[in-house]
Amino acid sequence: MKEIINDSTALEEDTQKGRFLTFSLDKESYGLEIRYVTEIIGIQSITQVPELPEYVKGIINLRGKIIPVMDVRLRFKKEPRGYNDRTCVIVVDINNISIGLIVDSVTEVITILEEEIVDPPQMNKGVQNRYINKIGKVGNDVKLLLDCEKLLTEDELEDLHDAL
């Protein structure tokens, strides 16, 4: 019984391997491993929660489940932009924590072969690099591949530094 489950999860992971959901912020195109993604929804009315960092916009009601939403633009310290009907919320599940990521627009799901993925260039400065763990090449385009777990965890450190 267990083996079957294991098999099927292995299979599932196999089909998901190398597949990325791409979205755009400003001019850049980002990629997100598809296994994290639960669903994509349009922008909803957001309830603000006080005393949170600016990039956590608040909470939304996703069919009875209350999940927080994060504006990825603000997370990456980009200029805020008003939401429109292209704005999407990508609901991801990272280590059993559900969170919505607000992005400018979702592009497509693509497969990036392993050999097309390279390490990001080493830069001594720049905050951006923290959340990007790989860079994928698709034709002539470059997709910045996000490290989802860092997206959630990194900020605690950051907050501590802010407080000090």
Binding site: T47, Q48, V49, P50, L52, V56, I66, P68, E156
Partner: protein
């Protein structure tokens, strides 16, 4: 040691064993208190150990079954030979040690670790104890054994009364007859027709179930046999001397109609009475349900309440004349609220198990600290939500430990002070409105204010001038992190992480903790807990674009203030004069930095809230209305940031919007 072949079976094993162990612990502790093991207790312990042995062997936990086996052996000896000189407390220690071992192993299994503990030394000890017992009692033993083998047929009359309300007395009687078939040669019973005759239940209830039998077994053996009957209330077993006494059936016949011999009703169904049924006082039929399922049901009922509000308060209905519709919705509301109450009551659990766990702690600590403490338990039948029980077990344990370790003095000291030798620790639970109060009270030396203040000074915990502090504020200092008045860290308490963790735990479930104390009079710690966590009556208010919910229970009144009642002191603290009393005002839009057009008091509304005798006026834009809301925690991600000041959680409104629930106690304490 074992593979997890069968998860549901393992779950049942864990559940059953945990329950049996709990029962066992209670039995031992009560026997230990009485300083003797009654026959009933010995039988009970024997039976529990037997069950654990069987089930753990089946689940391939050999260490547990080995240990259970050795304890079973010990109690078998106690039961059969009834030795007179038993060292009760040594026996209790031994068995409790065994219980602890099994508990730890069960915990390991539950956490999917290998149950790798070794019980060999414990088993050795038990064996040693048993053999020394045997030696001491060997003289008596030989007499006993001589008595045993007196053979020859004997005749008995047994009258059995079942407990009231155990139901199906006829079937139970039938089971007894069944089991007797193997032991006795001739059996007659009244009423005769158990299964077919519907009156038999009534007869058994009224006159008892009477059995005449012939057997070779001794009186003790027969007595023991009948005593194992489930739901036995009363047993009368008489050995009959003469043959003619054996069948006074004739005389009974007139009353009970034609009684005939029953002998051919031997069937080969070998149904043993399930040990589970022995769990005492389960008069009604009870099923155990996985808590996760209950939680799910709770959630669903919550969703239903919201959905109901969505339908009834649907904006599409505005302005329509719908008399019949509203009649129907009233009915619906009634049913949903009944379902809600039902689900809540399902989740309510009496505090007794939690309280009785403390017996063990008290006993262990008294032994080790050489103090004498009597534990008094009042109101154990008080029920609270399952969730809450889970949260208070550890804090309560800590408070009890603290009370014994720091509070209650040693026997000598108590005598010097002219107190009774043994200290009294009272655990009390009672309902008060929508709260449950749990009181932990000792009659020990109490808290010394100077000592607390000194310690607070050393640790820089004083937040205001010593002279300005009330007794209560001083006592509350002990709840701060990093505070421990005990100079030395002992095995049980005094690491200074205690009380603040306790009060945090209590706060997370929306409760409060107060400390009262008098020197040499003892300390009283009162926990005030909400009855339930899940559904509250709330008043929805609007501030800017945000909606907040205030628990109705804390609201005293709401009104639009008059300009002239508002006072502003030189520090720009705003206050409001109501009927000659002055109360502080809290602007929610300021506290949570919300944009709103309503900033003048006279444009908005004041909601006066009260908690723990403290009163505060909350200023909001407008009232939206009252509604039952299902409390949901803020998402984990947000909670990981920090505890947001003044928010207890959030909830969904009828239209799908989210409202934030204000934590009144939290706000008031910050003030």
């Amino acid at each position: 040691m074992s593979e997890y072949l069968n998860e549901p079976m393992l779950e049942v094993f864990l559940f059953e064993s945990a329950q049996l162990i709990e029962q066992l612990e209670l039995d031992i502790l009560s026997s230990d208190n009485k300083k003797c093991y009654t026959e009933a207790a010995i039988n009970e312990i024997f039976r529990i150990m037997h069950t654990i042995k069987g089930s753990s062997a089946m689940m391939m936990f050999h260490e547990i079954s080995g240990l259970a086996h050795s304890i079973e052996d010990l109690f078998y000896y106690l039961r059969e030979d009834k030795p007179e000189c038993i060292d009760c407390s040594a026996l209790s220690d031994l068995i409790l040690e065994g219980i602890d071992f099994i508990k730890i192993e069960l915990e390991k299994i539950r956490n999917e670790n290998e149950a790798d503990g070794k019980a060999t030394s414990l088993i050795e000890e038990i064996k040693k104890f048993l053999s020394s017992l045997k030696k001491e009692n060997s003289s008596k033993n030989s007499i006993k054994t001589k008595q045993q083998p007196d053979s020859g047929e004997k005749q008995y009359r047994a009258t059995i009364y079942f407990e009231d309300g155990c139901e199906m007395e006829n079937i139970r009687g039938y089971t007894i007859i069944h089991n007797l078939n193997d032991l006795a040669k001739e059996i007659y019973h009244i009423p005769k027709d158990l299964i077919e005759d519907e009156d038999s239940i009534e007869l058994i209830r009224r006159d008892g179930f009477i059995i005449y039998l012939k057997t070779e077994l001794s009186y003790e053996k027969m007595f023991e046999f009948f005593n194992q009957t489930v739901f036995l209330k009363d047993l009368e077993l008489i050995q009959l001397e003469k043959d003619d006494e054996f069948l006074p059936v004739q005389s009974v016949e007139k009353v009970e109609r034609n009684v005939q011999l029953l002998s051919e009703e031997r069937s080969n169904a070998k149904e043993r009475i399930n040990d589970k049924e022995i769990q005492s006082n389960s008069h009604q039929s009870i099923i155990s349900v996985n808590v996760a399922k209950l939680d799910k049901l709770m959630d669903l009922v919550g969703e239903m309440v919201i959905a109901e509000a969505m339908v009834i308060q649907n904006p599409d209905l505005k302005g329509l004349e719908l008399n019949d519709f509203y009649k129907a919705t009233a009915q619906l509301s009634k049913i949903t609220s009944e379902i809600q109450d039902m689900v809540m009551s399902v989740r309510m659990v009496p505090l007794s198990t939690t309280f009785h766990k403390m017996n063990r702690i008290v006993r262990d600590m008294c032994k080790r600290l050489e103090k004498k403490v009597e534990l008094k338990i009042i109101g154990e039948e008080t029920e609270v939500d399952k969730n809450i029980i889970e949260h208070i077990s550890d804090p309560l344990m800590h408070l009890v430990r603290n009370a014994i370790d720091h509070g209650i003095e040693s026997v000598k000291e108590r005598e010097k002070k002219g107190k009774t030798k043994s200290g009294v620790l009272t655990l009390e639970a009672k309902n008060s409105g929508s709260d449950v109060l749990i009181i932990v009270k000792d009659d020990g030396k109490g808290l010394r204010k100077e000592k607390i203040l000194k310690k607070a000074r050393e640790n820089n915990l004083l937040y205001k001038k010593e002279e300005d502090m009330s007794d209560r504020e001083i006592f509350n200092l002990i709840l701060l992190p990093g505070f421990s008045t005990k100079e030395k860290v002992t095995e049980f308490s005094g690491r200074g992480v205690g009380m603040d963790v306790v009060s945090k735990n209590i706060e997370t479930i929306g409760g409060t903790l107060t400390v009262e104390s008098g020197v040499d009079q003892g300390t009283t710690i009162t926990l005030k807990l909400p009855l339930t966590l899940a559904i509250i009556d709330g008043m929805n208010i609007k501030v800017g674009e945000s909606i907040y919910t205030i628990p109705t229970i804390s609201i005293r009144e709401s009104f639009r203030p008059r300009e002239e009642d508002i006072i502003i002191d030189p520090d720009h603290n705003e206050m409001l004069m109501v009927r000659g009393q002055c109360y502080p005002i809290l602007r929610i839009h300021k506290m949570h930095k919300i944009d709103t057009k309503v900033t003048r008091f006279t444009d908005g509304i004041i909601i006066m809230v009260e908690q723990d005798d403290k009163i505060l006026c909350i200023f909001a834009d407008e009232l939206i209305g009252q509604q039952q809301v299902v409390v949901k925690g803020l998402p984990e991600y947000i909670r990981n940031f920090k505890k947001i000041k003044g928010l207890a959680g959030c909830t969904l409104l009828g239209d799908g919007r989210i409202s934030l629930i204000l934590d009144i106690a939290g706000i008031l304490n910050v003030k």
